[in-house]
């Protein structure tokens, strides 16, 4: 089990949280100008690094707020948590 440091509640057990996939993915400004391939890239394609990965989590069974976390996909070590819309230690990539 992971202890995840919710930016509002502090360290809480993993089972209180839900996962929201890769963080900092921005919706394209003009979707109708995109090719199908570009739109599909926005919708479906995610980076899958071995190592530190900025991702979204929500404290479903707690304060109910979304936030970002940097998790190492090899060790599960969570090196940072920070609010939505904020820049993390990895930037917005």
């Amino acid at each position: 089990m992971l202890l995840i440091d919710c930016p509002w509640c502090g360290p809480r057990d993993e089972c209180e949280f839900s996962y929201g996939g890769e963080a900092h993915i921005k919706r394209p400004e003009n979707p109708d100008k995109l090719s199908d391939a570009e739109w599909a890239d926005y919708l479906f394609m995610r980076t899958n690094p071995k190592g530190r990965f900025p991702e979204r989590w929500v404290h479903t069974h707690g304060c109910n707020r979304w936030f970002n976390a940097v998790r190492d996909t090899v060790t599960h070590d969570i090196s940072a948590t920070y609010g939505m819309g904020e820049d993390g230690p990895e930037g917005r990539s």
Binding site: M1, C9, C15, E16, H61, G62, C63
Partner: protein, 206 residues
């Protein structure tokens, strides 16, 4: 309520054995499980930066929403304002007060970006009190319930026996109140009865 229809609480039909009813006060038990009955339960959401929101809630209820994590304003009496998140609170009132307070809040926030929802009948309230109460909750809750961390006047949403609950420690005894969705109330009640068996848990009605 006295307006001519049968109002049924979520835990009303749970059988409480004659043996336990004989000891209503449960005074010799180290832990007592109790249906706390009907209360007003109003969810409030407002922006942390909206000073008028805080002032209005304070005018109507006499309580200022806490900006501090897990901190309840008011209590052990009523009303109480439980912290649920950075911009979300649960106002707990006496049953007969909830209509008046709900009306006051709704009128005050008309046309404003504030959420006021009467959830009174959505949750059952289960009380767990006594010397072993903390140990029983700890069997199914990952929160650190040590009094240095979660003490009287603390509240939060969390999981208990895999059920989402709002947990409030009301007094130092300790006395906990658990707000649970009514459809999960029977399961959670039975879970607590089972968890409390080794401590001689008793069940009582108010």
């Amino acid at each position: 309520m006295d307006n001519g229809y049968m109002r049924q609480g979520p835990l009303d039909y749970i059988p409480i054995s004659a043996e336990l009813e004989a000891d209503q006060g449960g005074n010799d038990a180290t832990v007592v499980l109790e249906d706390r009955g009907f209360r007003g339960q109003i969810v409030l959401q407002g922006k942390a930066s909206d000073a008028e929101f805080f002032d209005a809630v304070s005018d109507i209820t006499g309580l200022r929403p806490s900006k501090e994590t897990n901190v309840v304003t008011g209590g052990p009496g009523f009303p109480r304002l439980l912290w649920l998140g950075p911009e979300e609170w649960l106002l707990v009132t006496e049953d007969e007060e909830s209509g008046r307070i709900m009306l006051g809040l709704t009128n005050s926030f008309k046309g404003r970006h504030v959420q006021v929802v009467d959830n009174s009948d959505a949750y059952a309230i289960v009380g767990v009190r006594g010397a072993s109460a903390r140990d029983i909750l700890a069997k199914g809750c990952t929160l650190d319930l040590h009094e240095r961390v979660f003490r009287s006047g603390s509240s939060t949403r969390t999981l208990l026996g895999q059920v989402q609950v709002i947990l409030h420690q009301v007094t130092d005894d300790p006395d906990y109140e658990i707000h649970v969705h009514r459809s999960f109330a029977e399961f959670l009640w039975e879970w607590l009865v089972d968890a409390g068996q080794e401590y001689g848990l008793k069940t009582v009605r108010p």
